[in-house]
Structure formats: C-alpha cells, structure tokens
Symmetry: C2
C-alpha cells in the first residue's frame, strides 16, 4: 500500500488530494515540523532532503510533488487525472506544475525560509517584505495566462488542480489581494467543494 509522509499546510496537500481523487488505497504519516521531525535521523533515511512530501511505494520511495502527481496519475489511469495518451497535453500539465514548484513555491518560501539562501536578519526581513509582490506577480500570470477554467487545463480536472489549490491556500498569509484574482479565487472555491478535497482537509485537520 502507498504511504504518504506529509505535514499540514505544506505542499504535501497536493499529493494527498491526488491520492484521494485517484481512489488509491493509502496510509498517511504526519511529520511534525514543530519538533523538526523532518530532520530526524529516521525521516532523513526516507527523504535525505528533509522535506515533505515523500511517497512510499512497493518499488521504493518518491519525492518531489510534480513527480509524485504524475506517478499517481499514471498509476491510476481510470481516475483520468492527466492526459496520459497525449504527449503535448501531458507536457502542458507538467509545465504548469513545474512553474508552481520552481517559481511560485520558491517565491512563497522566501517569507519563512530565508536561511536557506542568506545568513543576515536584515536579508530575511528584506526577502519577507518582497513576498506579497513576488507571489502576487506569479498568481497574476496564472490568472491571466494559465488557468483556463473551470479547471487549470480547461474542462477536464487534472493533477494541476490540487497543486494550484494547495499553493493558493497561502495567498492570505502572503498578503496577496485575492480580489485581483477572481479566476484563482473561484477555482479555490470550486476545489474546496470537491468531496476528495473536503475529505483530505478533514483528515489533515483531525491529525494536526
């Protein structure tokens, strides 16, 4: 059985929702960031990067959200979570998810994770001040050019949707004005109404 290591309010939510949407049999295990469990010797054996999510499969361990999402889509083809038979359409899905991991998540991370890239308190404060602007710019591009609606790729729900939903959870915390992002806001609302999303958010709240 698949097992997802996650922490609440992290990008692990995307894979958690995808597993639920896929109808997969899976277990979860919470990694407690308050106890720095992600850097414990036990967890570093699972993911030497000291991050969540990690997915235990019968073939081995997978990390990195875009790879896990595509793996879930390919492993449960009946759930139709990605256009698996169309290389161009699949690449569009991957391009969107790659932008989220390499640019949008990274922009957000400069609020709390400054010590990854600098050492001085003044630098951390400077980075933090810029987050509302950089995250807003990323989401403005998503709003204008990427989110086709009603789902990210248009009429069909894909693995892009739980990932966008996950990062869009952080907008208020990053002081981004949601009223400038009506399509993103509507997408978030649409996602929150899906049974799989309600189930997963309920699970994560109960475990936190």
């Amino acid at each position: 059985m698949l097992k997802l290591y996650y922490a609440p309010a992290t990008c692990a939510l995307a894979s958690h929702i995808a597993l639920q949407e896929a109808g997969a049999a899976y277990a979860t295990e919470l990694i407690d960031f308050k106890k720095n469990q992600q850097n414990s010797p036990e967890y570093l054996k699972i993911n030497p990067k000291g991050r969540v999510p990690s997915l235990i499969t019968d073939r081995g361990i997978l990390t990195e959200t875009p790879a896990m999402l595509a793996f879930i889509a390919q492993s449960f083809p009946k759930a139709r979570l990605a256009p698996l038979d169309d290389a161009f359409a699949f690449a569009q899905v991957q391009s969107f998810n790659s932008y989220l991991c390499s640019t949008v998540h990274v922009a957000h991370a400069h609020k709390m994770r400054g010590p990854r890239w600098a050492t001085e308190e003044t630098s951390f404060a400077d980075m933090k001040r810029m987050v509302p602007k950089t995250v807003a710019a990323c989401f403005a591009l998503i709003e204008r050019d990427m989110l086709k609606g009603p789902w990210v790729m248009g009429e069909v729900y894909t693995i892009c949707d739980p990932y966008l939903f996950t990062l869009a959870q952080w907008l208020e915390g990053d002081s981004v004005d949601l009223s400038a992002l009506p399509k993103v806001a509507a997408h978030r609302k649409r996602m929150a109404e899906r049974p799989a999303v309600r189930e997963v958010l309920g699970q994560e709240r109960a475990a936190a």
Copy 2:
C-alpha cells in the same frame, strides 16, 4: 518543425542536448540576454515569464525544462531517453529533474538574480556569499544519493543526464570544489565526450 529559443550558458542547454540526442529536426533561435531580449514584447508573446527555454511545437508553445525534457523523450520514443513504460522509473527521472529545477537551479540563481527575491544591495551580497555553500550542499546530495553512475539513473542514459550536465557547468563559477564531487566530475566528462553534446556546445559557441 520544433524550434528552441535559448541563450548560451543557461538551462536551455539541457533541452538543446535532448533534442540533438533524440535525432529531432529542430531549429534554434538565440535570445540575447545582454540586450534584455527575453523581456522584449516579441519574446514575451512566446513566453510571458521572460525566461528561456521555450519550445515551439506544431501544437503550441512549451516552457519549463522538466516538461520539455519529458515531452522530447515521449515524442521520440526510439531514442529511449526515458523509461516511458514504467511509471515508477519515469517518476524517478521526473523527481531528479524536479529537484534540479526547484532546488539546485534556485540555489545557483541567488548569485546573480537576487532582485527576484529582495531589494537591498546588502541582501544581494549576503545571498551571493551563500551560493558556494548551498550549491555545494545540493551537489553533495546528488553525489551521495542520486547519481547512480555511469549515468544518473544507472546503466541507461536518460533526460536526467543533459540536465545535470547543464547545471554542473556552473560549479566553478559558483566556487564549488569539484574535487569533493568525483562522480559528478566524471559524469560531466563522460557527457562532454558524447557526439550530441559536442555538436550542441559547438553550435552554441558559434552563435554566441
């Protein structure tokens, strides 16, 4: 015909090599960063993110290196650039490439691209000082846990290899000690001897 927009010494090199390895018919167009051509109105119509690479296909435009690499592998299956019939092995390829785009490239980018995430000169200098350490840490993990050898995924060459080779070009510029990375150094040498890599580096040098 496919067309790759690139700039020399950027991550576009990975897709350029993959196209050559695939035996694809493709054209290239150089985007001149010195003239800030990546932010010209013409180029922003191709890629509104103002970055390279972009790949023009007969179906539309693709951006983001991991997505483009998987697209090239899927579009030219005879070149066997990824394990297309094995979801887990394909996810391992994607996980590696996702780590390169979201963590390794981002660590490197803090040397010259500080203004993406901060505003003060002191912050830029602080970020720059940390780059040798953060990039070295990324590559130490690659050396220890990820690069199986002789190729990234072991005996079989995949789309991970040109991407790793591309980012490994930047190690000296980032003041990372290559003598601590014997497997990465041997991989870079092995890559540099491949006819496709020599051809592409020659093309990029001639155009620069």
